[in-house]
């Protein structure tokens, strides 16, 4: 059953149409990779899902609940918008860790702030914070970063920082975890450790959308691939089918550039 349903998304920046009629759906526990050259609209699509951009047309539904519908714009309370945002997690290309917090604090900050809204917060403050701390430590352990949890971001390598960012995005248990070119800002020798973590998340049936330029990785890990060009979905299909046997001319051309290189 589809956990995410994206219908007819359009996004304009001024007179430039960055996304044109983009539709797709994603099943629970599946991984979707979005490929395409720079400027094809992949990143904008992810930003629309995370409410960092507001689409001009179309709708986004998660678990059959409409989160966004451009035809029925409601004036949203900040509180409601925040709730919707939590359906999605986001890992940025440039990590965007908070520099003044340790790895562990980066992971636990949002959960702590959210806990303050709980009714039983005042009575159980200590217990709640201890639980959040345990949760954060477990997530960092899962990322292989137990040794590094009290380090500040600038004391970590790029690969370690991105793994902290993944733990931070997982902390609020989003339905769908999004990655915006998670390894593009990394030195080649550091991409492996991040891809390994993402692969293990896929093995654990985490629902994910990954914008990436790593074709071999996409073919290997993703269940489903979308190829975008000029703001439209040119082709979508299962990973192996799309990469090994592309149907559209534009897809073939794009992939050729990668396999030759």
């Amino acid at each position: 059953m589809a956990i995410l349903e994206v219908k007819n998304i359009e996004k304009h920046f001024g007179s430039t149409k960055v996304l044109k009629d983009v539709s797709f759906s994603l099943d629970e526990g599946n991984t979707l990779a979005i490929i395409g050259s720079s400027g094809s609209g992949k990143t904008t699509l992810l930003r629309c899902l995370n409410f960092l951009e507001t689409p001009n047309h179309g709708s986004i539904s998660v678990r059959d609940t409409v989160l966004f519908d451009a035809e029925h714009p409601e004036r949203e309370q900040e509180k409601d918008l925040r709730k919707k945002r939590l359906r999605f997690g986001m890992v940025f290309q440039s990590f965007n860790l908070f520099p003044q917090y340790t790895a562990l604090q980066n992971v636990t900050l949002a959960e702590q702030l959210l806990a303050k809204e709980r009714k039983d917060f005042k009575q159980n403050k200590k217990k709640i914070f201890a639980e959040i701390d345990e949760h954060g430590k477990a997530l960092l352990a899962q990322m292989g970063l137990s040794e590094r949890m009290h380090h500040y971001p600038h004391q970590l390598s790029g690969g370690q920082q991105q793994r902290v960012a993944i733990a931070r995005a997982l902390a609020l248990s989003p339905d769908i975890l999004c990655f915006d070119e998670p390894t593009s800002a990394l030195d080649p020798e550091l991409t492996g450790e991040v891809l390994k973590v993402i692969r293990s998340l896929a093995d654990n049936k985490t629902t994910m959308i990954i914008v990436t330029h790593e074709m071999a990785f996409a073919r290997d890990v993703a269940d489903q691939i979308i190829f975008m060009d000029g703001g439209v979905v040119v082709e979508q299909g299962t990973a192996k089918q799309l990469i090994d046997n592309p149907q559209e001319e534009r897809t073939k051309k794009f992939l050729a550039r990668y396999t030759q290189g």
Partner: protein, 218 residues
Amino acid sequence: MFWTVTQALLSGLATTFQIFILTLLFSLPLGLVIALASMSKFKPLRYLMQTIVWIVRGTPLMLQLIIIFYGPGLWFDNNIWSGGTAGRITATVVAFTINYACYFSVIFRGGIEGVPVGQREAGEVLGMTKSQIFFQITLLQMVKRVVPPMSNEIITLVKDTSLARIISAYELTFTGYSFVKAAGITWPLFYTGVFYLIFVGILTLLFNYIERRLDYFR
């Protein structure tokens, strides 16, 4: 004589310190307000602020001080500043506050704009509120960025207080110079310099401490 000079300079220092502290107290928050207004999405407000900052930064502080102190009496026949020391100090603080708030606003704006957009976005996707993002994420990064340029401005402020002598406020430099005129002795001028050096020295230590405290992140 030494004791007389010391006592006089200490009382001058009291005025200098008063101008310094009050100016800082008012111009810091005002500077933040002007910074936010000059980044406003509402264009007329933004242009208005930019114009004010241009005028205030583009004219001498001494001229501003003269206009603010003598202006009301000259043009409206209504000297709103009482003629005594208190009135002169108040006028000085008003002129200095406006002037320094404009300089601070530019520094603050740089500090706010210097925090990468990605920081705010990371907070947003984690479901934080606007105020949580400002207080938990942006603020400290901004403070870290503005400390070095602010320390420069604040040290300049210490010495700018000497401009108050133009409207006959008995601050430190005025007092030191008065001995040259009245008694024909010049060494109090150097002694006055020592007062400023100690004042600025203490501030420098304070700023170094703050910078060190914020050194744990980048």
